[in-house]
């Protein structure tokens, strides 16, 4: 399956928009998590964790799933880049899968914090969960920054599979020309 140039540009536009939006949403989440951890204002802290829950459910999770299950596979399988031909694409895929998994694992702690924030019962016993959310958001932001950098620089390195595909296609094309 090969995408036409217009469709390819369209999907790439969605992919870039969604992935960069994901990064921005995680940065916003991190800011809320830091304020929630450090503020002494109970109302403000409650508002932070309620906001984080909403941002996670309706913004971050959808933004993480679109490039993973839709635009990423379409772009890689519908273009000569392939999904397993270049190491930078595999590394991006691994970062994306791990980030999404870690995000899904954190849905419960985020929901837990939102529940106790709504009840107004956040205490010092929840400090561990509060720190965890800051650390996870910071790590997620670093991972997404790394993925963005990799996508821009596209470091060299072709897999054995990619090399065989390219070498085989060239050899096939050459034999077609010769015959």
């Amino acid at each position: 399956m090969k995408l036409g140039p217009n469709l390819r540009k369209f999907i790439r536009s969605i992919h870039v928009t969604v992935t960069v939006s994901w990064l921005g949403a995680v940065a916003g989440f991190l800011a809320l998590a830091i304020v929630g951890l450090n503020s002494q204002d109970r109302q403000l802290v409650s508002a932070m964790y309620l906001s984080m829950d909403i941002i996670t459910r309706y913004v971050i999770v959808p933004l993480s799933l679109v490039p993973l299950v839709l635009t990423g596979p379409l772009l890689s399988l519908g273009t000569p880049w392939g999904l397993f031909r270049h190491y930078w694409i595999i590394v991006k895929l691994v970062i994306n899968v791990l980030s999404t998994l870690i995000l899904l694992v954190h849905l419960k702690p985020i929901q837990h914090m939102a529940d106790i924030a709504a009840a107004g019962t956040i205490s010092s016993a929840d400090r561990g969960a509060q720190i965890q959310l800051v650390v996870a958001a910071g790590a997620g932001l670093l991972a997404l920054l790394a993925a963005t950098g990799i996508a821009v620089y596209k470091p060299r390195g072709m897999t054995v599979y990619g090399w065989q595909k390219q070498y085989g296609e060239r050899a096939g094309a050459r034999s077609d020309v010769e015959t």
Binding site: V94, K108, P109, Q111, H112, M158, Y167
Partner: protein, 66 residues
């Protein structure tokens, strides 16, 4: 001037770049650190990881979100 060839010089497959090896070593180390810390009693998940493999996907709110 020497002309560059578009085809590889021989049939040997390319080597894995050092940055890729470093990346996967870091990922494996991070996973090991999390597993060891978890075994030592540190909890990162607050009910998340331990339930992840035993509960249905709906409890992860995926269906709710979609």
């Amino acid at each position: 001037m020497e002309e560059k060839s578009n085809t590889p010089p021989n049939n040997t497959p390319p080597k894995t770049p050092a940055w890729v090896k470093a990346f996967f070593i870091v990922i494996v180390l991070l996973i090991l650190i999390v597993i060891v810390a978890h075994l030592m009693g540190l909890r990162f998940d607050h009910g998340g990881v331990s339930e992840l493999f035993s509960i249905s996907m709906s409890q992860l709110n995926i269906l709710y979100i979609l």
